[in-house]
Symmetry: C2
Subunit: 126 residues, 2 copies
DNA sequence: TTGTGTGCAAAGATTTTGCAGAAAT
DNA sequence: ATTTCTGCAAAATCTTTGCACACAA
């Protein structure tokens, strides 16, 4: 029941996710890592993505296209999803953490954070 | 290529969704509707949920538990998701549509709307 | 009558898991 | 030596779809 052990595959997954802003799916990660580790399995990719998410090294995004996306940018930020092409784009915007307080006003539970998805048409599709 | 035809099954799905605040999954809907229509199939439930969502009669929620949830409350509102029990709860809070403008400031695409998920621990689990 | 909807079953897509061997500590 | 990790394949989930018949307009 000790901790994690190093693995090259896990490092490769994290390195790839940190190198891109494209919010890849498990399949995307698999195809990319396979360039360096041709024998890696999709199961290993899933296991490592889940481990990294548990460790807080990456975020899991559920944006409504039926597939999970992953993001190594763990600092608070928001996402835009293009209704036309499905692209997920990081938004650079003023922090609006105060909405947690606003939400708390008429709520009896404990609000710890939030996730915002903006929808519309991206620059490419316009 | 005409329009939709009436179906009792579809009406039952919509009626049920409008009667609850529990944000059911397709499986939940299926089990409920089966009380009245014992021979309804899960495929029919999915088809009707998809039709109703296309018509804008219901919303589809992807909250990160790997299953789609559905909500007949189509007026703009936000959701809270309990990290402990997974409950999805409607939040009654001041509208913050202005965040669309804030997001637009440094973004080149067109922002048409947003979806916010608050996370934390619900009253029941506290 | 003509098209749409349904039940059923099979298929598709995504993610998880059991196992034996490989790698890390 | 011991525990964790991996590849592989099978299984588990969730959702969609083809088809023949039923129902609505």
């Amino acid at each position: 029941m000790a901790g994690l052990k190093y693995s090259r595959q896990r490092e490769a997954v994290l390195t790839y996710l940190r190198s891109t802003k494209s919010h890849p799916t498990a399949e995307n990660v698999y195809l990319k890592i396979r360039e360096e580790f041709p024998r890696i399995s999709l199961g290993t990719v899933y296991r490592n993505l889940n481990l990294l998410a548990e460790q807080g090294e990456i975020l899991r995004l559920s944006c409504g296209d039926g597939v999970e996306h992953f993001d190594a940018m763990v600092e608070p930020h928001n996402h835009f999803i293009c209704r036309n092409c499905g692209a997920i784009i990081d938004l650079e915007m003023a922090s609006i953490d105060s909405i947690d307080q606003v939400a708390d006003e008429n709520f009896s539970g404990k609000i710890e954070g939030h996730e915002i998805y903006f929808y519309g048409i991206c620059n490419n599709c316009l």
